[in-house]
């Protein structure tokens, strides 16, 4: 801490306070997140570990820079570049900020570039939403909050937790409890952010997972077998029968979003039901939307919220609770969706309990954050002592059954290695 001059508090996160500071050695303004040492029993907080792990690998102009990490008195401090606001504030400040087509385009391009960088590193962000997209003092746009991030694509992957993303940004495969998903989940969330930028309010503010699905189908049509071949085999997809709803026409979407055909096309490709056909970040950046007029606004000219971080006062509602209330999509609004029988509880397990509290919370809570269950036990079972020892277990893990996605991954991984190989041998 001796290198930093502490300034005012900028915000409060789940794991601790963020305050402004100045690096005394360089005079650079920074934001420092103080992470409390959590429950003594689990040591350094896993979310913090993930954030550090990923941000140490990612250097990109659209990804927040982690400048330094240091412990100080039983706390861990993460030093970030200083940002002044986030996209949520921009979206909400309808009274003062007008968003032109070029502005939306600029935000979208920045977000996609940031995600392309993550996905190129085989990292899924898993918490894409407006308040995790930070805005810099001169208009820069950067992805932040990698605490839910995870490496994907290894043939050894078994199970990922589906309790990721704030609900409104959760892809349908997650809502159907698919445990083997990929970077496409981030792309769905980008689609939701895109819609939100154009509408200036969350497009699909579900109050529970079931309602979320019904909102999605209502807005985009109930997916047919053809649109989403794998859907039926997802864990909870067979538990509810959704009323067939036709896909919206491009014209109706254009009317809703008051935007061009190119924007609607991009939106539809980002919100494609079938994750394997959903547009990737790289593909999206090549979409004609970005080539067409009007051009993306240079980031220095992007609108800035009048009130920077730390000066909102306590009254600024965060995370869209207000919109949820406004949209009036109360929990009782599911009438249209359950045409058939509800065969069993949906989603299964303890999910109902969570949703019950979720409904309650959304009325009073100030923000949407990750579900509480998003914890560390994901994927590999906790190893248990015993068994036949090393050789056996390693051998067992040796021959993974490869799906086609895995093969694709291997090929790409190999290409990465080829380059490494080439470079190393030319050093």
């Amino acid at each position: 801490m001796e290198h930093y001059e502490k300034g005012p508090t900028l915000g409060e996160g789940t794991f601790g306070r963020v305050f402004a500071a100045t690096d005394k050695r360089t005079g650079r303004r920074v934001a420092i997140k103080k992470i409390r040492m959590g429950k003594a029993k689990e040591g350094v907080n896993v979310t913090a570990i993930r954030e550090i792990k990923f941000l140490r690998e990612l250097q990109h102009e659209n990804v927040i820079e982690l400048i330094d990490v240091f412990p100080h008195k039983r706390n861990l401090y993460l030093v970030y570049e200083y940002m002044t606001s986030d996209l949520e504030a921009v979206i909400k400040d309808k009274a003062n900020l007008r968003l032109r087509v070029g502005d939306v385009k600029a935000y979208m391009r920045a977000i996609l570039q940031g995600l392309a960088a993550c996905h190129g590193h085989w990292i899924m962000h898993r918490d894409v939403k407006p308040n995790n997209i930070l805005l810099g003092p001169s208009g820069q746009v950067k992805l932040a909050d990698f605490g839910a991030g995870r490496v994907f694509g290894s043939p050894n992957d078994k199970k990922f937790t589906t309790q990721v993303f704030a609900r409104w940004y959760r892809a349908p495969e997650l809502l159907f409890d698919s445990q083997l998903y990929s970077s496409a989940v981030d792309m769905w969330a980008v689609g939701c952010v895109f819609a939100e930028l154009m509408l200036r309010r969350p497009w699909l503010p579900g109050n529970n997972d079931l309602e979320q699905l019904s909102l999605i189908f209502e807005a985009l049509g109930t997916p047919t077998e053809e649109q989403w071949p794998g859907m039926k085999s997802l864990p909870t997809a067979s538990q509810v029968v959704f009323k067939p709803i036709a896909s919206p026409t491009a014209a109706s979407l254009r009317q809703l979003f008051r935007c061009g055909a190119d924007a609607v096309d991009l939106l539809q490709q980002l919100l494609c039901f079938d994750p394997s056909r959903r547009m990737s970040a790289e593909q999206a950046l090549r979409h004609e939307y970005f080539g067409n007029e009007p051009a993306a606004t240079p980031w220095a000219d992007l609108p800035r919220p009048a009130v920077p971080f730390g000066e909102e006062g306590s009254s600024r509602p965060q995370g869209g609770a207000r919109e949820a209330a406004e949209a009036g999509a109360g929990a009782g609004n599911n009438g249209h969706l359950l045409q058939g029988v509800r065969r069993s509880s949906f989603p299964p397990e303890g999910d109902c309990a969570r949703d019950a509290t979720g409904v309650k919370a959304s009325a009073s809570e100030v923000r949407m954050s990750l579900p509480a269950e998003m914890k560390m036990g994901e994927n590999e079972r906790t190893p248990v002592l015993g068994g036949n020892g090393h050789r056996d277990s390693l051998e067992a893990g040796e021959r993974p059954q490869l799906g086609s996605a895995d093969k694709n991954y291997l090929r790409k991984r190999k290409l990465d290695m080829d380059r490494a190989f080439e470079l190393a041998s030319n050093d």
């Binding site: 190129g120 790289e282 950046l285 080829d418 080439e422 041998s425």
Partner: protein, 363 residues
């Protein structure tokens, strides 16, 4: 659009692939530093025993032997828990990296080793509670928990918070996948290709395991290690298998650009592999080294030492001083704001400032 190559900008490639001379240099520098600190902070009461102390300090060579031993121990722990190879590889690399920053005189290797396993599991989403880990190392759960949680931050700092380690096992899979493609291209049926690749995998994995116990993970990229391991594995091949593998290697070499350099690297890796599979020092020798580690520790990092307590006190005092200074400058600016050009030092506040400092240092 240019595809982004995660390896090239990775922390692993940019900060943790070092030349063998660089490794030795770093180790030697840390060692010198540790010895210097032991010498400097020897207990004032017994200057002679400090000299004895230095005489029993573990040597750099002994450190190497000891760390090899702990790497093997680490692999036993991982096998006990049936952890994937990847976690073993990552924990070993953590241990190696840590001891490029510190010596066994600074931090006891047993503690760091256990903490490496704990951290690697956490980083790889295979969380293992310290309590569980205790069962694996046959120690009291509370003791292990205390050690692991107490050393976690130290380890993180030693690693410079770089937590992603690319293992050669992933690269090997990539190579083998490509080999299978080559086979199919030549008209082999898939089963045959798979038999070949799995035979190679088994052997190559063994080589990679051996390489883990050498400096190889610190000196070469995982791609090179996998390639070298594959070459060893291919030596036993005969007939058409041999031809196939040879032509695949040719294909790899043509991609590598500088084939001479590649050959030289592979030779080096093979040497390292031989070292990695060398057997440990005698148990008696190791016990003796372990005893020495306990006898002579760098007091700077030893919470039980007088020096450690003294340093903590100094830090505390410094902080108080800084606080006092801040107050003083605040008072000064207040005074200036009030139009008092010359600030008469308030004797009262001065006394308040200096006394705690003295007290703490003396204490």
């Amino acid at each position: 659009m240019a595809s982004i190559n995660s390896w090239l900008t990775s922390s692993h490639k940019t900060r943790w692939i070092l030349g063998d001379q660089e490794l030795e240099k770093r180790r030697a520098a840390c060692y010198e530093k540790s010895l210097g600190e032991i010498e400097r902070y020897k207990p004032e009461s017994a200057s002679t025993s400090a000299a004895d102390n230095l005489a029993v300090a573990v040597s750099l060579e002994e450190q190497k032997q000891l760390l090899s031993y702990y790497e093997k121990t680490l692999s036993k722990i991982c096998s006990l828990f049936r952890m994937p190879r990847k976690i073993l590889a990552i924990s070993i690399v953590y241990l190696k990296r840590f001891y490029l920053k510190f010596t066994v005189l600074d931090h006891e290797p047993w503690r760091i080793m256990v903490t490496c396993v704990y951290l690697a599991c956490k980083v790889e989403n295979a969380y293992l509670a310290a309590e569980e880990l205790a069962k694996g190392v046959q120690q009291d759960a509370r003791v292990v928990e205390k050690i692991v949680l107490g050393s976690e931050m130290t380890l993180l700092q030693g690693l410079d918070f770089d937590l992603v380690v690319h293992t050669p096992y992933a690269s090997l899979r990539g190579f083998l996948y490509e080999l299978e493609n080559c086979c199919q291209f030549e008209g082999w049926d898939p089963d045959r290709a798979e038999t070949l690749s799995s035979a190679l995998r088994k052997r190559a994995n063994k080589s990679l395991d051996a390489l883990l116990f050498s400096d190889a993970p610190l000196t070469f990229s995982p791609g090179i290690l996998a390639y070298a391991a594959l070459q060893v594995a291919a030596k036993k091949m005969e007939g058409e298998d041999k031809q196939m593998v040879e032509s695949f290697f040719g294909h790899c070499r043509s991609k590598a650009g500088n084939t001479e350099k590649l050959a030289e690297f592979v030779k080096k890796v093979h040497k390292l592999g031989a070292r990695g599979s060398a057997s440990l020092a005698d148990e008696g020798v190791l016990k003796e080294i372990d005893r020495k580690v306990k006898l002579c520790r760098n007091p700077v990092y030893d919470p039980t030492s007088d020096q450690y307590k003294k340093q903590q006190a100094e830090k505390q005092a410094q902080k108080l001083r800084a606080k006092a200074n801040l107050k003083r400058s605040a008072a000064a600016s207040d005074a200036r704001a009030l139009g008092l050009t010359e600030i008469a030092e308030n004797p009262d506040s001065k006394r308040r400032k200096s006394s705690p400092t003295n007290r703490v240092v003396a204490g």
